[in-house]
């Protein structure tokens, strides 16, 4: 099994986070060390300035001792500093484009490792198992946390004597629940000011966790059916539809016990448009009508449990509740937008 583990990272803050939190979290027996029997290469796309820091880092050197590595400095992309967030996404796409081309040429499976994500212990070992079963893509929720508070707590809780940070799933979820990012908080179904772009919807289950329904999931692994190039959009949007077009090719991680990933973002990261009123299903149906392709809609049909304790009947009930709302919204999204707009208008007047 030929695997390209790829990460695109640049800038002091993200490089530091990647090297000193993400890598020690990956360098555990159940994660990077699980690739021992595979033909895996760790590839980092960056700038030459950041490459120097990476090459000097002790955790990177540990990765070198585990598997072949490649650090690619694409300086022509990083010529000017201080890129705004939108351009950063475009730059990230350019790095992914290069990585996808390379993997296609080598006939390799891609594992996308964002430089701001941490994983539960055993996540990568499980990933290899799933890929071996014939699934073409593994997707998960990658819930966003506030970096400033989460990172110190994460280091304190999980750093072992080697400086590695293995984080068992439930312990990780328990910690994460106390550091949810404002964007994450705005995705709760009962949020007072819900997110205007509800790519995720969350239903709280006591203090134990939540059920997520996600239009967008992070693609952690991809074994492309079609060796197509990344042309439009981000790597996790249109490209996926071409690379793995059938829903049956996907393994959606529906339980945090299986694999968990959390993304660490600055707390001031733009939350986006916040709605003035509470969640309403017509507005959500209109959002679904405008956004996402058939794979994204398929993601929505699965209830994802993020939990820190054993799940019980209460979770079943919340699953069912979320299912009712999603099914209704998907059905409504099939109506013409003019009808939905009129409906939304009438609801607003009645309110």
């Amino acid at each position: 099994m030929k695997i390209h583990l790829i990460s695109a990272v640049w800038g002091d803050q993200y490089t530091d986070l990647f090297l000193n939190v993400c890598l020690p979290n990956q360098l555990t027996p159940g994660n990077l060390r699980a690739f021992g029997e595979t033909d895996a290469v760790y590839k980092i796309y960056t700038s030459s300035k950041d490459a120097e820091t990476i090459l000097d880092n002790r955790f990177y050197k540990e990765v070198e001792s585990l598997m072949p590595t490649q650090v690619v400095a694409l300086d022509h992309l990083f010529r000017s500093s201080g890129h705004s967030t939108p351009i950063s996404i475009l730059l990230m796409t350019q790095c992914h484009k290069a990585a996808i081309d390379s993997a296609n040429m080598a006939n390799a499976i891609l594992v996308f490792l964002p430089p701001d994500q941490v994983y539960s212990e055993g996540a990568f070992a499980r990933l290899i198992e799933i890929a071996s079963s014939g699934k073409r893509a593994v997707t998960l929720s990658g819930v966003r946390l506030s970096k400033e508070t989460f990172v110190p707590a994460f280091k304190e809780k999980f750093t072992d004597e080697n400086g590695h940070m293995p984080s068992p799933s439930r312990d990780l979820v328990e910690l994460a629940l106390g550091h949810l990012h404002p964007i994450t908080a705005s995705m709760y179904i009962d949020a007072k000011s819900p997110n205007g772009a509800p790519t995720h919807l969350y239903w709280k289950v006591g203090a134990e966790g939540f059920v997520a329904r996600c239009l967008h999931l992070h693609p952690l692994l991809l074994n492309p059916v079609s060796k197509s190039r990344l042309i439009y959009g981000n790597f996790d949007t249109d490209y996926f539809q071409k690379a793995a077009p059938l829903p049956s090719d996907y393994y959606i991680v529906t339980d945090s016990d299986d694999i968990t990933a959390f993304e660490m973002s600055p707390v001031d990261k733009s939350v986006g448009f916040i709605g003035a009123s509470k969640f309403n299903i017509i507005g959500y149906a209109r959002f679904l009508k405008r956004n996402g392709h058939h794979i994204h809609k398929y993601f929505l049909t699965e209830a994802i449990r993020i939990h820190s304790t054993q799940t019980d009947d209460n979770w079943e009930a919340i699953d069912a509740e979320s299912s009712n709302i999603i099914q209704a919204a998907l059905a409504l999204a099939k109506l013409p937008d003019s009808i939905l707009r009129l409906w939304a208008f009438l609801l607003e007047k009645m309110r």
């Binding site: 050197k61 490649q70 022509h76 939108p86 475009l90 290069a98 081309d101 190039r229």
Partner: protein, 363 residues
Amino acid sequence: MGRLSKDYPAKFVILGTARKDFVLKAINSLKSRVTNIVAVVNNERKSPFPGLDYDVKSFAGHITKFNISLLATLRQIKPGVIVVVIGDQFIHKNVFETLKFWMRWRLLNKSELYVSYSFDPDFIEYWDETFELPASTRAFADKDLSLLIITPHPRLGWINRPADLTVKVTRKKGAEQYQWRCRIDRAGARFTSEDQNYVADRPLLSVFGPSEVFGVALNDDEVFSWILQEKFSSWNVRNYGAPDYSLHQSCLALEERFGAEKPKIVILGFSARRDFSEDELLKAKTLCEEHDAELIVISMDGKPAVYSEFLNENGFTWPSASIDPGKGAAEEKVMAHKALAEALEETIKSIIAREPRSKKSDQ
């Protein structure tokens, strides 16, 4: 980009789908290379554009197939090239789908589509969704940068894109480390000196050919063209070699460059085993004669000289059949490039010592 020259006859439309400052950067970059620029921007963004030495036209609404306002504006301009400026988070499908739809249904004249990225305004990329990387790059996918430096081209298939790339590879468990750096200038030429300055009054020596000429997996300063630049410091040496080029593509590249500059000496490398074509060599020879340039041809894989019959005194082969610049370990490649540069030195000196071809033909 060879095609972008000041005398490009058709209208050059910059379609702004991005912030004003990104569009302005793209315009300013292109102004130095082409004339006939028309910026087409949304009505709401029109006023801030100075439009001093280019036209500014506007349209209303979002870019969709049904936007009659944009279609009417473009029809009025009749563009030869449309450059879409991308400044936002993603490359938006709707813009390209709309333009291609209009062209397919002949609502808009057939134009070449390019993209200008906000992070790299000096480079515009030919937009070809069907473009596939050359198959031979597969063999190097794990250690080679060549697939990172090629970009689609409407006539040549692909060309080198401006780049500054470094790759550090660790083969196995920390062992067998190596690193190589490759820089490519705005004209698609591999660097032959640190500053890659083109001194206007110096004669030009241009190099064309496949991966071996380009110097895949070698540092800039290990490629024979760099060594030649050091040896002939009163000349400009340019390496237009490109990964996986056939002899046909190299000849097309030569033709393109003759449209933009006047080399005095042309070195054309090719693989005699892979894609030798007498017709292509004759074409290169004719082109050079028409432009008063001396041609040196080299078989990059050591096959004996069979071309001297029509190449006259400059028919040239690889100095030793046992050294192949495209194969072997990095050290062997470095040696091979050094040997090639040394062997070429004498030939070049003898050409420089001879009187120019035009004077010879005058007699």
